[in-house]
């Protein structure tokens, strides 16, 4: 005698299996949750690194001295800044891979206008496809002896150094 008992048991078994697998998946996936915010952690790390590097470069070696960053801007020493910045930023010893690249601009106030000039870069061409972050530091410059023309006024002032950072 053939009836549908076997078919019903099979359907019940499959349904129970699907339910168990779904539950197990939900339980396991809650422990390794990738929230939308997690994708920004890498940005935050790079931003923090850039801010820390600029802050330590803007710290005078002795009390009352100008900071190294102030001296680089005063003398318009872009290669000195580039070497110093890359030395501090690339602490992991992995030559050629995952290195940090940057491009920087100085903004200054001249009367009511804001002017800018290109300060320093790591020698890499920006393609616009990099995932970059922007950090900045206000630098107090006491003697602007060698400003690039048409540059800022020759007076004690505060300029804004903006650095765009990216990793390849």
């Amino acid at each position: 005698m053939v009836n549908e008992n076997g078919v019903l048991y099979t359907i019940e078994g499959v349904a129970a299996g699907v339910l168990m697998i779904t539950t197990a998946y939900l339980v396991v996936s809650t422990t390794v949750m990738f929230t939308p915010g997690d994708s920004h952690i890498i940005d935050m790390q790079l931003e923090q690194l850039g801010n820390d590097v600029l802050a330590s470069m803007d710290t005078p070696i002795r009390y009352g001295d100008p900071s190294p960053l102030e001296l680089y801007i005063t003398d318009n020493d872009s290669s000195g800044f580039s070497n110093h910045f890359l030395l501090y930023a690339n602490t992991a010893a992995q030559p050629g891979f995952g290195r940090i690249k940057f491009n920087s601009t100085v903004y200054y106030r001249k009367d009511a206008d804001v002017g800018s000039y290109h300060f320093s870069d790591s020698g890499d061409i920006m393609t616009g496809r990099e995932h970059m972050v922007n950090v900045n530091r206000r630098v107090f410059v006491k003697d602007y002896t060698n400003p690039p023309p048409p540059g800022p006024d020759d007076r004690p002032q505060s300029v804004l150094l903006e650095v765009t950072l990216w990793r390849d």
Binding site: M33, P36, G37, N136, P156
Partner: protein
């Protein structure tokens, strides 16, 4: 039995949804908070004060550049016994009075 399992799966799904939302808002508020900006402005104010130069043009520098490049309002006022720093970027409002 099936009903209990369905309800529990439904509850688990709600919890998963909530955790997505919590992660989003928490990381947004962390990202939005201009920690480095405020530290930078404070540091700069102390720097030019210790350099003993005329503070007015330097305060104008900081205020103009921050408004122009960072879209934030800064107002620094400087008297002989106190120093106040206002910072407002539309999301975060920061106000500090430093007694000297």
């Amino acid at each position: 039995m099936g009903l209990i399992i369905s309800v529990s799966i439904f509850l688990l799904a709600i919890i998963v949804n909530q955790s997505m939302l919590v992660g989003q808002t928490t990381s947004e508020s962390v990202l939005d908070f201009p920690k480095a900006e405020i530290q930078d402005i404070r540091n700069e104010v102390f720097r030019y004060r210790s350099a003993e130069v005329d503070p007015d043009p330097i305060q104008a520098d900081i205020e103009t550049l921050t408004l122009y490049r960072k879209s934030a309002l800064v107002d620094i006022s400087n008297t002989s016994e106190r120093l106040t720093i206002h910072y407002n970027n539309g999301v975060t409002y920061y106000h500090e009075v430093i007694q000297i």
